[in-house]
Every structure is written in structure tokens, then in C-alpha cells.
């Protein structure tokens, strides 16, 4: 494994991110609309037991959503690299595939977290409840785990799907149910039994639950359990991504 290679792949993602200002804005806008419109609209008629305000309830879910969407979409960069030929330059370099995969994972996770933090800031401006300084580090930890897990998943899928048109379709097909089942917009505790059972398979649910626990003090599971499950998921996704990257050809 080469630290230099991991670093330069990360650096490249940072450069792209900072140069694509339009992308930064557009990826913030959608979750912002969810938060503002759904938050205000449903907030007027919805009262979640034990939670003061619907916006407070929704904000952690939408932060998780921003990370989920951006992280899985990181895989697109692999398809672009393949399309534009740069992937060949990476694959013939004398560095292990694992370094390449890790560099991409850290790059995608960093940009996802930046976007998650931007959304957290916006949520604060709208009036959602913010974590205290100690809680902020836990929020960051949940963001990192969510980011790593779903960047890993996105990269794993990108190593198998070579069609740049098909990739976003597959990703959307996958992340929409993950998002809806995560309990981001409604409390899972009050959902019908069958729905709850399915939701508990959804790793995003533990991210949302953990973030909510830290931010507003209401959660279904203890925070340590959320962290543990999300941590196992992230590790599994990185291993899966590394395995599939190893077998990938240009």
C-alpha cells in the first residue's frame, strides 16, 4: 500500500470538488428543498411524540440523506475516468488497487462530509436544533461512517457497471428505498411491524437514528449500538469495494 498514492487520489478529488462550484451548490439544493419544504409543510400538521418541532426531527435525517446521495455518487468518478481514459493511467501505475480504492474512498468521504456539514449549517439557520460541541464530534463520526460505507458501496457498483447512463439509474433505484426506509422523515417506532422489520436491515436507519440521538436526544437504539452497526457496515463495504477493484479492468 502506498500512502503517497492514497494521498494523491484524495488530492485530485479535492481539486475537482473545489473547481466544480456548480456541483457543490446543486448537491446542497435538493436536500435543502426537502428540509425547507417538507419541514415547513409537514411541520405545520405533524407532531412527533417526544420531539418539540418537526424540523428538529427532520434535520438529522436530511443530513444523512445529503451524505448518502453524495457518497454513492462518488462512484461516477470511476466511470468518468474509464470513459476519459484516465483509469488506464491509474491502473498501470505501480500501486496496489487497494491504495487506489482507499484514496477514492477518502476523497469521496471528505467531499460528502463537507456537504453534510454545509447542510447542517443551513438546517441551523432554518432553526433546527444543533448539537452541543461534544455532540458535534459524534455527529462528525456518524457522518464519516456513513460516508465511508456508501462511498465504498458506490465504488463497488462502479467497478462492475461500465455504462455511465446506467450507473445513476442503478444508484437511484438503490438509494431511494434506503432513504425512505431509514426513518429520516417519519419515526420508525410508530411504523407498522413489517415496515419496521425491513427498515432495521437498512444501514442508513442506524445513521439517522444515531444522528438524531446526538442532535435532539431521541433515538430508538443506544448510540453505541448505532455506531457499532454502522461501523461494521462501513468496513464491509470497504472490503467489498477493495475486492471488486482488484478484479476490475480498464
Amino acid at each position: 500500500m502506498s500512502a503517497q498514492a492514497i494521498y494523491v487520489l484524495w488530492l485530485r478529488d479535492m481539486k475537482w470538488f473545489l473547481r466544480a462550484k456548480a456541483r457543490i451548490i446543486s448537491t446542497i439544493v435538493m436536500p435543502f428543498l426537502w428540509l425547507a419544504i417538507l419541514g415547513m409543510g409537514l411541520g405545520a400538521v405533524t407532531q412527533i411524540p417526544g420531539v418539540g418541532n418537526y424540523i428538529d426531527f427532520l434535520a438529522p435525517g436530511i443530513v444523512a440523506m445529503a451524505i448518502l446521495f453524495n457518497a454513492t455518487m462518488t462512484g461516477v468518478s470511476v466511470l468518468w475516468d474509464r470513459q476519459f481514459g484516465f483509469l488506464k493511467e491509474i491502473l498501470v501505475a505501480p500501486v496496489s488497487r487497494i491504495s487506489i480504492m482507499l484514496g477514492k474512498t477518502f476523497g469521496g468521504t471528505t467531499t460528502s462530509i463537507i456537504q453534510g456539514l454545509m447542510l447542517l449549517f443551513v438546517a441551523g439557520l432554518i432553526g433546527a436544533k444543533m448539537p452541543d460541541p461534544a455532540g458535534f464530534f459524534l455527529v462528525l463520526l456518524f457522518m464519516i461512517l456513513l460516508g465511508i460505507g456508501f462511498v465504498g458501496l458506490g465504488l463497488a457498483i462502479a467497478s462492475r457497471i461500465t455504462d455511465p447512463v446506467a450507473f445513476p439509474l442503478v444508484i437511484n433505484f438503490l438509494i431511494m428505498p434506503l432513504f425512505f426506509l431509514s426513518g429520516a422523515i417519519f419515526p420508525l417506532g410508530m411504523a407498522p411491524e413489517w415496515l419496521r422489520v425491513i427498515a432495521y436491515i437498512d444501514p442508513v436507519a442506524y445513521g439517522v437514528d444515531g444522528l438524531r440521538g446526538v442532535m435532539i436526544g431521541v433515538s430508538e437504539f443506544p448510540i453505541w449500538l448505532d455506531l457499532a452497526i454502522l461501523g461494521i457496515f462501513s468496513l464491509a463495504m470497504v472490503l467489498l469495494g477493495a475486492y471488486l477493484f482488484k478484479k476490475m479492468s480498464a
Binding site: S2, Q4, V8, K15, D81, G85, E89, A93, P94, A250
Partner: protein, 328 residues
């Protein structure tokens, strides 16, 4: 030790043999050309030698390392310019080189020194900090060449280095390739389907067709095998006249390519009037006549019975050319 050594190297794709038991020995310091039409297996062969495609059968050693068993050692010893573009258009020229230097494990001081050197060699110093997006196709090619040798490879692979470039830019690239071979002492294997390129640049040329090397020697010797001049005649009913000409003792060889007859003759200045006369006596009319010394194209025609350009222009190839034209 040989720079490149292959033994029965073969690659199949779904039952189709792209490279068919190729045996190649390329010595250190050579500038070797693989000449053949599109689809002959040149790129597949290069991809195997640079370790990104495993062979189906046979072995290959590059810089003394087995491409399949020791890919990392091979990778540090080689530099590659792929046929299709492989730059990051959203980074600057310098950033592309910096990326390369880092993944090849070069230190910061070495990287900085070397980036300046190679940019100077390909004359791109003044555009170093511009995004590659803004480069012309020739500039991108030069940047790729600069990148491919910045880590001091022993061996370089250039896959169709001048494809789709204008004549002036091609000349420039030829100069760079010669400089790398002579001054930097790098062994070079280049593929091309341009006769003049192989002829002008390469010390030895292997002619490849349908995945097999069908002739291998230095360009002069290959052409000398044809002994004589090439006369091309555009006539109606080329088959009929081919038969007639074959019976004349001053005609050594006749090949039909489309409406044209290619005749290998000695003493062309005396023979051409005779040939025109023969056609005229049989009521035919020669539409055009050409006469020249043999080229590598003629060598190719002699071995394969067809021209090297005839197989161009499949739909897939056209699409790739289109993509290339728009991305460069």
C-alpha cells in the same frame, strides 16, 4: 538481457483470437515498430505487455520480469502512451505530471525537477498551468509522452502515437520519439498503421495481421525483398489483365487491390509503355498509371494480399475516432 521477450503469447476474446502465438525478441535500445491494420491485435499485445490484460496462453517478459507474475516490477520499468487519451482534463498539465510522479513514488524535489525537464523537452512549459481541457490534440499527445517518460522507464510503449494528428504535429512527435530513444536510451515499442511512420522511425519493423507476426526485419530489407519498382495500373477488368501480366517474364508479381493492379517489375521505365500497350491492344484503356519504389505498404500487400487501409472504418472504429476527435 532482452528488453521484451514473448513466447507463444496469445489472447482470446470470446473465442476470437486477437493475438495468436506471438514470439518477439526486442533488444535493449531498439526502436521497434509493430505495423498492421486496425484490429490486427497491436493494442491487445501492448495491453498484455503493460500488464493490464492477462494473456490467455504463453508468456511475456518485459525488462526481465514476467508480465503475469511480477506486474508491479514491470510497471515501474515501463512508460506507456495509450492509443486513446488518458489525461485528466480537469487538472492542469503540471498537475497531471505531478499525479504521475507521486503514484510512481518520486520524491518532491525529484518530481519538481523532472516535471520542468520533461515539459521543456516537449515544449509545453508555457502551458504548464493551464487546464488540459484547453489543450489542442497535439499538445495533449505531447503531454502524454512527457508523462510517460518522466519516471525514467527503461522501456516505452507507444500505441499509435500520431493517430489523428496533423502532419506538422506528427513530425514533432517523431522528433520526440527519436530523442527518447537516442538521448534517454529508452527501448521503444511503437505500434502504427502508418507506413511512413514505421519506415522513418523504426530500426526493425514487425508486420502484424490477424494477431500474427507475418514479417519481421529492418524496413530497408523488407522493401528490398520486393526487388524492383511498383507499378500501379487502374484498368477495367483488373482480373483479366492480371492473368495476362502474370505470363510476362518481366513482371515478377501481380496483386489486385480494388480496381488497381500492383505489379512488381524491374526496369519500370521500359516496362510501363509495354504494359499500357498490352491493355490497349485488347481494347482496354488504362485510366491511371503510377510508378514508385516499394514501400512497407507493398510489403504488407505482398504478405496479405490486401492493402493496410482497406479494413479501416468499421462502425466501432469510426465511433472511437469520433470520440478521440472531440476529446483531444
Amino acid at each position: 538481457m532482452r528488453a521484451i521477450f514473448t513466447n507463444g503469447l496469445t489472447r482470446e476474446f470470446n473465442g476470437l483470437t486477437a493475438v495468436d502465438h506471438v514470439n518477439l525478441q526486442i533488444e535493449k535500445g531498439e526502436l521497434f515498430g509493430l505495423l498492421g491494420p486496425n484490429g490486427a491485435g497491436k493494442t491487445t499485445l501492448i495491453h498484455m505487455l503493460c500488464t493490464i490484460l492477462p494473456p490467455t496462453e504463453g508468456t511475456a517478459k518485459v525488462a526481465g520480469f514476467d508480465v503475469y507474475k511480477e506486474p508491479d516490477s514491470v510497471r515501474t520499468s515501463i512508460g506507456i502512451v495509450f492509443q486513446d487519451p488518458s489525461l485528466d482534463n480537469r487538472l492542469t498539465g503540471k498537475e497531471n505530471l505531478d499525479f504521475h510522479g507521486r503514484v510512481y513514488g518520486m520524491s518532491k524535489t525529484l518530481r519538481e525537477k523532472r516535471i520542468d525537464e520533461v515539459l521543456k523537452l516537449v515544449e509545453l512549459e508555457d502551458r504548464a498551468n493551464a487546464l488540459v481541457e484547453t489543450y489542442s490534440s497535439g499538445m495533449r499527445r505531447r503531454l502524454e509522452i512527457a508523462r510517460s517518460f518522466m519516471h525514467h522507464p527503461e522501456i516505452m510503449f507507444l500505441d499509435e502515437p500520431t493517430l489523428g494528428l496533423d502532419p506538422q504535429t506528427r513530425r514533432k512527435i517523431w522528433e520526440h520519439v527519436q530523442m527518447l530513444n537516442k538521448q534517454e536510451k529508452i527501448t521503444i515499442l511503437l505500434t502504427t498503421h502508418y507506413m511512413d511512420e514505421a519506415d522513418y522511425l523504426c530500426g526493425r519493423v514487425g508486420i502484424i495481421d490477424h494477431g500474427r507476426i507475418i514479417a519481421l526485419d529492418n524496413p530497408k530489407k523488407l522493401k528490398d525483398q520486393l526487388e524492383g519498382d511498383i507499378v500501379s495500373l487502374e484498368v477495367p477488368l483488373p482480373k483479366k489483365y492480371a492473368e495476362i501480366f502474370r505470363r510476362r517474364k518481366y513482371v515478377k508479381e501481380v496483386k489486385i487491390v480494388g480496381d488497381y493492379l500492383y505489379l512488381t517489375v524491374t526496369g519500370s521505365e521500359k516496362v510501363v509503355p509495354k504494359l499500357i500497350d498490352i491493355v490497349a491492344r485488347r481494347g482496354g484503356k488504362v485510366r491511371s498509371v503510377g510508378c514508385r519504389s516499394p514501400t512497407l505498404e507493398d510489403v504488407f500487400i505482398r504478405y496479405t494480399g490486401r492493402g493496410i487501409r482497406e479494413e479501416e472504418g468499421g462502425i466501432k472504429e469510426q465511433m472511437r475516432a469520433h470520440v478521440r476527435a472531440h476529446m483531444r
